[in-house]
Amino acid sequence: MSAPVNHSALTLKVLAECSVTKARACQLSLPHSVVDTPVFMPVGTQGSLKGITPEQLENSGCQIMLGNTYHLGSNPGAELFDKVGGLHKFMGWKRNLLTDSGGFQMVSLVALSEVTEEGVRFSNPYDAKDMLLTPEKSIEIQNSIGADIIMQLDDVVSSTISGPRVEEAMGRSIRWLDRCIEAHKKTKTQNLFAIIQGGLDSRLRTICLNEMSKRNVPGFAIGGLSGGEDKNDFWKMVTLSTDFLPKHKPRYLMGVGFPVDLVVCSALGCDMFDCVYPTRTARFGTALIPTGKLDLKKKGCAEDFRPIDENCSCSTCRQFTRAYLHTIVTKETVASILLTIHNIQYQVFFCRLTVIDTCGFYLFLGTRGGNINIIIII
């Protein structure tokens, strides 16, 4: 076990390491509360998990959630956050927040964006106003929002793209990291993470890793993945990054993901994950269970008087049967809420159990992950 390393707004304590894989269990102390890693972070883009109150989120075991700089910067805007005193106060969330810089929107809103060295210009389809998001502007908005972890603005390209654009984006991300570090005003209360880019090219990734790890940031994210690329390429980039990144700083793998990916990437040494999957799929009537997925719309659920998961202690599973949920799923908003609560609790606890601190990773695979058979050749 390594001694805890202290940056002024973050402490990472490694509690246990797997002797076979690169998995580790840690305690990440952030300004608002402690987070047990590996941690799954649900996504509340507009400052809330759709349909869930902060209290319900807290009860489901969530210790840290995401908000989005581009969306919150447009609405309600940084000025309002300054007046209110930050997003924590605005939404009534006592635990931790992480804001993405707006970088991913370069991919998701690619049709509405234009990237230059200066920054990225977004045209807003709702009010036809332009927003120029520079590294400085992104940090400024994130400083106003006040999240415990903030992300650099990176130049993000889709993982399915190859060619010189990938190298351009990687180089620019390094330069933007420096600009972000320079612009960041609240180092005592907010942790700025760097984001490793380089696409699916090990040479580019290595350059980026080399350069970014020279900067004194409290944590690193592995970006530019989880965008539809071949899994075989994906694992390689993840493990390359975790081999290189310092052990005493947290590693955040952005945009991951499905339960299988959480297991594998924990084994590859990642500590933090985020994904819209569990919450989005809940709104479409699908619950996450140990054997995979349960589609509550299916007729088979109509007379099934068991809860979604008999071993789950979430408020949904404690009160309701699959049969009841079948009657309301996709028809009543309450169904979205009930399934979201279950899926968040399920995914958060699933992720935490990927590494049982004293017993190690393989015990997890034997007890909880028993249905997963994975062979990885790296």
Partner: protein, 283 residues
């Protein structure tokens, strides 16, 4: 169920307490009282943990039958009743025949059955099916099957039919209710029909009052009758109709008026002598 008047105003408004609520032990409720409207068994947009925060105000829950009817067979298999199925068993549950937020088309009720409109369309419900539903659902209070389609405004013939049929349904429901072991803790409410025809309304009220019901529902004043909207109570002679009904009803039983009433109209209705409302206005 025991309805105890505590005070009555000169104009007819009353304050009361309802006790002996069957399976709810020594809980009591006071009237005027608002029933919390549900749709397909959920309070719209609120999960139960959020509902708990409303405290005692969310205690009496209104379950309109139309969107729940499709779950009849499931509830029969489930066998623990609708309260348990919906995780609302600690609430006082009242099952009404129609849903004020769904406006059914006129002309689809027949002599032996009433049409209810669920998600997949029209469902015909006769007394046997209706009582089978009550036995599967096991509500605390329920409105007896009724025909609230009184035809066009002023039409005496159809209004009279709605009164006759409703009384016939009520009598058969009461018979089956009496024989039912499962429903021994449940209370049955009779419905006052008759559309906009004063004489029919009086007849319905007089006759229903003779039956051993726990209370009364003033029907056909919300979406399901020729009087369209309940609001405002002072227009179109609605106030007079309500008054003429209440004159025929005994004081010592509660009166329910369904439909979207805003606070001003609730006060007007309370003054006339109505005891129980629902929260469809919010919806």
């Amino acid at each position: 169920m025991k309805f105890s008047l505590r005070s009555v105003s000169q104009r007819g408004g009353r304050l009361a307490t309802i006790s002996e609520l069957g399976r709810h032990g020594d809980k009591t409720v006071t009237t005027p009282m608002c029933l919390v409207f549900t749709q397909a068994g959920t309070i719209p947009h609120l999960t139960n943990d959020m509902v708990q925060k409303l405290g005692k105000h969310a205690y009496p829950v209104h379950l309109p039958l139309p969107l729940l009817l499709e779950s009849h067979e499931i509830l029969q298999k489930y066998s623990n009743g609708i309260g348990d199925f919906l995780a609302l068993k600690h609430h006082l549950l009242y099952l009404s025949v129609q849903d004020s937020t769904i406006r059914p088309p006129e002309g689809f009720n027949e002599k032996s059955f009433v049409s209810l409109w669920g998600r997949s369309g029209r469902l015909n419900v006769d007394v046997d099916k209706f009582m089978s539903v009550q036995e599967a659902f096991k509500p605390d209070w329920y409105q007896a099957l009724c025909d609230s389609d009184a035809g066009k405004v002023g039409s005496r013939k159809r209004a009279h039919k709605s009164v006759e049929r409703t009384l016939a349904y009520l009598d058969r429901c009461l018979e089956k209710h009496k024989e039912s072991e499962v429903l021994r803790h449940s209370c049955i409410f009779g419905s006052i029909e008759g559309g906009s025809v004063a004489e029919e309304r009086e007849l319905s009220a007089k006759e229903t009052a003779k039956r051993p019901v726990a209370g009364f529902v003033l029907e056909g004043l919300d979406t399901n009758g020729p009087l369209d909207s309940v609001l405002p109570l002072c227009e179109n002679g609605k106030k007079e109709i309500i008054q003429s009904i209440l004159n025929e009803l005994p004081d010592e039983k509660p009166r329910i008026l369904h439909g979207p009433l805003d606070p001003a109209n609730i006060l007007a209705a309370v003054e006339l002598g109505i005891d129980i409302f629902d929260s469809t206005y919010l919806f």
